[in-house]
Symmetry: C2
Subunit: 344 residues, 2 copies
Amino acid sequence: MVQIPNPPSPDSPAPRSVPTSADVARLAGVSRATVSYVLNNTGAVRISEPTRRRVHEAARELGYVPHAAARSLRAGHSRMVLMPTPSFPAGPLYTRFLGELQWALGRLDYTVVQYGTAAPHEEDAARAWAELRPVAVLAPASDLGPRGVDVLKRSGARAVLTLGPEPVDGAHALLTDQEGVGRGATRHLYDRGRRSIGVVVPAESGLDVFSAPRLAGARHAVEGTDATVTVLPLAYEEQDAARLAARWGSLGLDAVFAYNDEYAMLLMRALQDEGLDIPGDAAVIGADDLMLGRLLRPRLSTVHLELPAGRDLAALVDRAVHDPGAPPERHKVLGATVVHRESS
Amino acid sequence: MVQIPNPPSPDSPAPRSVPTSADVARLAGVSRATVSYVLNNTGAVRISEPTRRRVHEAARELGYVPHAAARSLRAGHSRMVLMPTPSFPAGPLYTRFLGELQWALGRLDYTVVQYGTAAPHEEDAARAWAELRPVAVLAPASDLGPRGVDVLKRSGARAVLTLGPEPVDGAHALLTDQEGVGRGATRHLYDRGRRSIGVVVPAESGLDVFSAPRLAGARHAVEGTDATVTVLPLAYEEQDAARLAARWGSLGLDAVFAYNDEYAMLLMRALQDEGLDIPGDAAVIGADDLMLGRLLRPRLSTVHLELPAGRDLAALVDRAVHDPGAPPERHKVLGATVVHRESS
DNA sequence: TTGAAAGCGGTACCAA
DNA sequence: TTGGTACCGCTTTCAA
C-alpha cells in the first residue's frame, strides 16, 4: 500500500504528513538503511561522501526528525531518566538541586523527563511511569513502595532510586535525614537553655513528608531530658499566625522550631506584632537557610541543608544503570548544620 | 533468532526479560489480539467473561505493563504534552501555576512531561523535543523561534503554545505582559510623587527574560515626563546589596522598583541598614506579591500577578489540539495590579 | 558501498 | 467470540 503523499488540496497549505526516514531515502535516491547509517554516523560502515551529502540534504529539506519511540522500540532500551514532578511546592533549594542534576545527567547523555501527572494510587503511578520504559527512575520514597519498585524493575528500569527518610526495598536509597534537621534545631534550642519548645507543623498538605520526620527528630532530641515538645499546627497565612501568636502566652513556650525559614518568618512577625521579644521571650529557629533569614531582624537562626552535588548524583545513577544487579546502596544526602544567628 | 529467555545463572534471581503482550497471550492461551482487546476494553469487540478473566490473570501474574512507545508508534500519535523545564529558578508563583496546569491536563487525559535537558541552540532544542512526537508543546517564547515552531509542527505537534511577552510566528501565544508589571510599578511611584526612579536588574542570568521587559515597561512609564529611570544591576547577595546601598546617596534616587519582592526585600534591608527611611528617603516597590512582602516592615508595596487558571489553559491546549488548522490565538495571561502598602 | 529484510511491541482490520 | 496478520518508524545483520 502506497502512502498518499499529498491530499489534493489546491489552495490550503497541504498538511504534509510527518516525514520518515523512508521519505528521506526516496528523496536522496538511496535505501532506508543508508539513511540510518549516514544520520547516525555509524562507524562500522563507510558511506561515500556524495551519498552522505545527498542524504543530509534530503533530511534538511524535508525537515526530518527521527522518531524517538521507534528508535528505542527497536533498540530495546532508552536513555530516559524519569522523575515525577514533585507534589510539594518546591522551594529554591530543591529547584536548584534539580536543575543541577538535570544538567549533569544531560552531560552523561541521559534525557531527563519529569512526569507530571500524579496517579491516585502509588502502584498506578509506578505502572504509568513503567509504560515509558525509562532506564532509570528517581522518585520520592513516599511515592514508591516496594511493589512500585518491583513493577518498574520488571519493566526494564535498570536503576530505581528513592529520595526520602527511609529506604525502600529493592531500590537505591538517597536518605534525606529530615529527622536530623528537627533534632539539630531542637537540640540547639535546648543547648541555649530552652525547655518548652514548640514545633511548627504546616497545615498545608504535601508538606507532611518533611514535617513529620522533622517533628519526630525534635521529639527525639528532648527524649530523656526535662524539656518538652509541643506541636503547633500552622497554616501559611498571616491570620493563622496571628491567632497562634495571640495565644502564645497561654502556651508557656520559650522557643520554637518553625519548620523552615518561611514559616519562621511568618511566625516571628506575628510574635513581634504581639509585642514579644525575639529571642528574649521566644527563641526562633527555622530551616533551609534561605536568604530571607539573613535579612530578618533579629537575624534568623536556621539549619543549613547540604544537598548532594548534581554531578555526584548523576554519576551514581549512571553507575546504577551500568550495574543493575548490584545490591541497593544507601547514601545520606542531607548534611544538616545548625547556623546560629540572633533569633535563638 | 530466538531471544534467550533466561541466561543460565543458577543462583542469582533470574533477570526475567520484560513481559510483552505475547507472553500474556501465551500464558492465557489466547492470541495477542485478544489480549489487546481485553486490556483496552475495546467496545466494538465482545470477549467472553472467562477469557477476560484468564487474560487479566495472566497479565497480573507476569506483571505486564504495556509499552507506551510501541503503542504510540502504532497509533501514530500520543497524548503527551511537552514542556521544557524552566531555565530560571521557578518561584512559588510559577510552581503553583505549573502544578495546576498539570493537574488539569491530566484530567483531560494528557500526559505532561517536562523535558529537562537544555540544548545549546534553540533549534536543536525544538528538534530534541520533536523526537518525542508530543501532541502539544508549551514553551517559553524565548526558547522557541519561528523555525522551532515549524520543526515541531512538521513533526506532528498539533499545538504549539508559547509563553512570553511577544508572540512567535505560527504558535499560539500566551502573552505575559511583563512590561505591564514594570509600567504599573513605575507609574505607581510616579503617581506617589517620585521622579528619580531606580530599576533593579538582577545580575543572575536566566532572569533577563523577565527583567528586560520589566525595565522596558518602567522606561515606557516615564516617557514624556520629567521623571528618570536609572538601571541598578544587583546580584542576589547581601554584599552586593550593601554596596548598592552605600552609594545610594550619590545616585540621587527617591524610589526604586526592585524587580520582584525578593530583590526588594534584599535591597530594602540594605537601605535600612544604611539608616535610610522607607518610604521617606526611598520608596520601594516589588513584584509578584509574595507572602514575605506582607511580613516586612514597612509592608512592601508590590505588583500582584494574576496567572491564568490551570483549567482554562488546559482547555485552550485541548482546543488547539483538536483544531490544529486554526489560526494562532493570542491571550493575555498576566493580570498585573499594583498593591499599595507602606513602602511607597 | 549499498540494499533487502527481519523484528522491536502493540493495535485493528478481516476472516473464520 | 477469537485468531491471523499487516503495519507504525527505525536499526542492523546479511548478501550483493
